[in-house]
């Protein structure tokens, strides 16, 4: 394949990954930003979302779209529900102590993984996409007869992958509206900025924390439902989303929604694009180093406020 179409393909594929990553990372960013704790089990909520999606999709008869839509509603509710229980039973009890939260959520990670292994099993299982058409993409090239359209071999995407990108953008917009235009968003932002003052103004900080923790998990689960028709549900699938979204949150700058999204695009697309030029493991090495160096030279992240 020629260089141009190849690059376009890498960009499109990267965009699908980046969309899902942005949603997952946003969930973590919210928890991290508001509650100041590292939720090591965040990736497991992603996994729970995918696994629940599989259960829902296989138990609903009829067109795959029905099961998929049901999963879009049920999976985030289940993951969010589990998260709220975790918040009440563990995080609240240790008063959101950062170190204790790490150990506690590692415990939750073990529990969720083992439960998934026992209930769901060790196999990777697919969920049927609600629709999936191969769309060949055209390419412009300056040829003998001037500018010409043609369809390069292999340059294509599927309608479902386009849907994932669009859906992610929609959810991100909705998230932004909630955070900036609603009272709930205001309360969350106030709690994030200054916990004590928020409490003084009568904000039920404890309840806000529970909701934020549940909401963060629900976002991860939602991202997982979107991706599971492309990738499969597997009980160990939570590792990469956790690491990547953690990286994205910090690179973007703590507490910056815009930063999280830009960083998700950067991280999600960089190794796809670099892999056009280098062998895959080498391009992963380069991409990882580049991202690390961004932080070395801009420790507050891309859009973070400079720390005093």
């Amino acid at each position: 394949m020629d260089f141009g179409p190849h690059l376009l393909l890498a960009v499109l594929e990267g965009a699908v990954g980046a969309s899902v990553l942005a949603l997952t990372a946003l969930g973590l960013s919210l928890v991290f930003g508001v509650m100041r704790v590292v939720n090591v089990a965040h990736g497991e909520f992603f996994m729970v979302g995918a696994v629940v999606a599989w259960f829902v999709a296989t138990s609903v008869a009829g067109h795959p779209a029905i099961g998929f839509l049901a999963a879009l509603v049920i999976a985030p509710l289940v993951a969010g529900g589990i998260a709220i229980v975790v918040d009440r039973l563990i995080l609240k009890q240790v008063e959101y102590d950062p170190e204790a939260t790490i150990v506690g959520t590692i415990g939750v990670l073990y529990i969720l993984q083992q439960s998934a292994l026992m209930i769901y099993g060790p196999e990777a299982r697919p969920v049927e996409p609600p629709f999936n058409h191969r769309i060949a993409l055209p390419w412009l090239e300056w040829g003998e007869n001037g500018l010409a359209f043609f369809y390069p071999w292999g340059l294509s995407i599927t309608s479902y992958k386009l849907f994932v990108i669009v859906a992610a953008i929609g959810i991100l917009l909705a998230f932004w509206l909630v955070m900036s235009r609603t009272k709930a968003g205001l309360i969350m932002r106030a709690t994030q900025m200054d916990r004590e003052t928020a409490q003084a103004f009568g904000i039920p900080v404890q309840r806000v924390y529970s909701i934020v923790f549940g909401f963060g998990a629900a976002l991860a689960a939602l991202a997982a439902v979107l991706i599971v028709p492309i990738q499969q549900a597997h009980y160990l699938m939570g590792g990469d989303p956790l690491l990547l979204s953690f990286i994205v949150v910090i690179i973007g700058g703590l507490g910056s929604v815009r930063g999280t999204i830009v960083a998700a695009l950067l991280v999600g697309m960089s190794d796809g694009i670099i892999s056009v030029f280098f062998s895959p493991t080498l391009s992963k090495i380069i991409a990882t180093l580049l991202v690390a160096l961004v932080l070395v030279f801009r420790p507050q992240g891309l859009f973070g406020k400079k720390m005093a």
Binding site: G107, L109, Q114, L243, I250, L295, M307
Partner: protein, 314 residues
């Protein structure tokens, strides 16, 4: 007894207990103890940076792996004997920790976590990329014949135990001694209040860099020792999992305590070992135990003992 004397008595006493255990325990548990001591050395190294200096690294597997590969590859590929290879492992870990320290210490807090995490990922991927020499994910075996010091085979259980104990004892006493010195107190000062430490006229960066290097070299020593004592080198040990484990061990044992790392490793080791004998769902047991510890022993096992009963524990 003065504080210092108590501390010396405690550490020497601990080593004495370990010697007795090592000689009395059945073969299986003696073998486990050797493994625990090597991993505990790794945790001691991690504790220097995390527990005392307050820098949370998520990339210590790279130092462990640097020691392991530095030592293991030169034995495997060039036929070096144990001692020089072990020293090379330390040198490689030291060089890596200087470079990582110089770059990563430009950041603090969560950014430091991520930068170390990503450097460690780079090291892991590099070990895969050069699979022709490192064996990649499969790793390689260091021949049993070459694993001996002056004719004493390191594969003999008691010899292996004493080598592991020497390694751990050295790391333990070194860090305990260091924490009694002014250098150690400055590190704690950095953890408690970096600005104040700066204002007192200490070069915080220098101290942090020294802590990264000491921590990295001890971790590397554990990696090199694992290679020669157990004969296997592989990229598993460079994965994120092996960066999170020392954090978990130290938190379980009690961060900022000298004996906490050993207790944390031993606890986790036997938790998995026994729970897996009782039920195939032992991860549930392990997970639930971690949650309970979080709830009822937030400062870690030794940390909680110090808080409740023995306030002088170092």
């Amino acid at each position: 007894m003065s504080l210092g004397a108590r501390s010396v008595a405690l550490h020497l006493g601990l080593i004495a207990i370990l010697i007795v255990l090592g000689l009395m325990l059945p073969t299986y548990h003696q073998g486990n103890l050797s493994r625990i001591l090597v991993l505990a050395t790794y945790a001691v190294g991690y504790n220097v940076l995390f527990g005392y200096t307050g820098l949370l690294s998520l990339g210590h597997a790279m130092f462990f792996a640097a020691g392991m590969y530095g030592c293991g590859m030169i034995m495997h590929l060039a036929g070096w004997s144990v001692i020089p290879a072990f020293v090379l492992g330390l040198v490689v870990a030291a060089m890596l920790s200087i470079v990582v320290g110089l770059l990563a210490l430009r950041t603090i807090g969560v950014a430091f976590m991520i930068v170390t995490l990503m450097f460690a990922q780079t090291v892991y991927l590099t070990s895969l990329y050069f699979g022709a020499w490192t064996g990649g994910d499969e790793g390689f075996v260091i021949s049993q014949a070459s694993r001996q010091i002056a004719g004493y085979p390191l594969t003999e259980p008691t010899t292996r135990f004493f080598v592991a104990l020497t390694l751990f004892g050295t790391a333990l006493l070194l860090t305990a001694w260091m924490m009694q010195r002014r250098f150690g107190r400055v590190l704690i000062g950095v953890r408690e209040n970096e600005e104040r430490t700066t204002m007192l006229g200490y070069d915080v960066f220098q101290h942090k860099l020294a802590a990264v290097v000491i921590s990295g070299v001890i971790s590397g020593a554990a990696g090199a020792a694992y290679a020669v004592l157990f004969g296997y080198v592989g990229s598993t040990f460079a994965t994120v999992q092996y960066s999170i484990l020392p954090l978990l061990w130290v938190l379980l044992g009690g961060m900022g305590t000298t004996i906490g790392p050993l207790i944390g490793v031993a606890f986790m080791f036997y938790l998995i070992d026994y729970a897996s004998g009782i039920t195939s769902a032992y991860m549930l047991v392990a997970g639930a135990t971690l949650v309970l510890l979080t709830l009822f022993a937030r400062a870690g096992i030794v940390g909680e003992i110090r808080k409740r009963w023995v306030p002088w524990l170092p």
